[in-house]
């Protein structure tokens, strides 16, 4: 599965609801900072500006999911 493929940001947020309950998302100037458990992923891309539901490269989603230990759940929820 290519890391350069894309998924809509809304689908990523839905995946996190399912795979990382009680996570939180903080929007910053350049990135989203996602926190789950005791870990934070501060470099999640915001996608193209001025888009409500920008596409996000799958490699970023896969890396974030692996970092949080939810990769298998993420793969089942998203085509990544």
């Amino acid at each position: 599965m290519s890391s350069f493929g894309q998924v809509p940001l809304k689908d990523v947020w839905a995946m996190l609801e399912q795979c990382a309950p009680d996570h939180s998302i903080q929007e910053r100037t350049h990135h989203y900072c996602i926190s789950y458990g005791e870990k934070s992923y501060p470099a999640f891309p915001k996608g193209e500006h001025e888009k409500q539901n920008p596409p996000i490269q799958k490699g970023h989603v896969r890396k974030m999911a692996r970092f949080f230990g939810i990769l298998e759940c993420a793969k089942a929820a998203l085509s990544i």
């Binding site: 290519s2 100037t29 350049h30 990135h31 870990k39 501060p42 470099a43 974030m64 692996r66 970092f67």
Partner: protein, 163 residues
């Protein structure tokens, strides 16, 4: 000799640069670790230390050029959400140390494969045996600043192969 196919390269990179915060000026220096995975569309860099970032680019050279700007943006986000140098320093150090066991295991295996000659070093990269990675965040005062503290316009040779 057998070689490893479709595996990740273990790469090292350096970052040096000033970051302005709320009432402080810091200087961030680090040697980081990355796994580089070649795909059909390009190369994907996955952070090992720091572990919470990734970069995709069409070539390793372009990824190398993108890396400093990507990290600077993370550090600027940190600077905007911390109110002291001490808090900023702690945030950068936590970011550097945070990783995951799957990625660190893949990194260890990749380094062994390079050392054992099972994985070729990407063309154009130096082998760098005896490496030691670190993160260092220091506070600077105005009288310590020199023109050399300006960030370079072009970054080259950011990556080296760990061996």
């Amino acid at each position: 000799m057998d070689t490893v196919k479709s595996a990740a390269w273990p790469l090292l990179f350096t970052y040096n640069g000033p970051v302005f915060g709320n009432g402080f000026l810091s200087y961030v220096e680090l040697c980081g670790k990355l796994l580089a995975v070649q795909e059909t569309e390009g190369v994907w860099l996955e952070g090992v230390n720091p572990g919470a970032f990734a970069i995709g680019a069409t070539t390793l050279e372009k990824a190398s050029q993108t890396l400093p700007e990507a990290l600077t943006k993370v550090f600027v986000d940190f600077a905007e959400t911390t109110d002291s140098f001490e808090a900023f320093k702690r945030t950068v150090e936590d970011f550097y140390e945070a990783t995951d066991p799957e990625t660190t295991s893949a990194w260890d295996r990749a380094v062994e494969a390079v050392r054992d000659g099972l994985m070729p070093v990407p063309e154009g990269l130096l082998r760098k045996p005896g490496w030691k990675c670190f993160v260092r965040v220091t506070e600077r005062s105005l009288d310590q600043l020199t023109p050399r503290d300006n960030p370079p316009v072009v970054f080259n040779r950011q990556l080296a192969a760990a061996a």
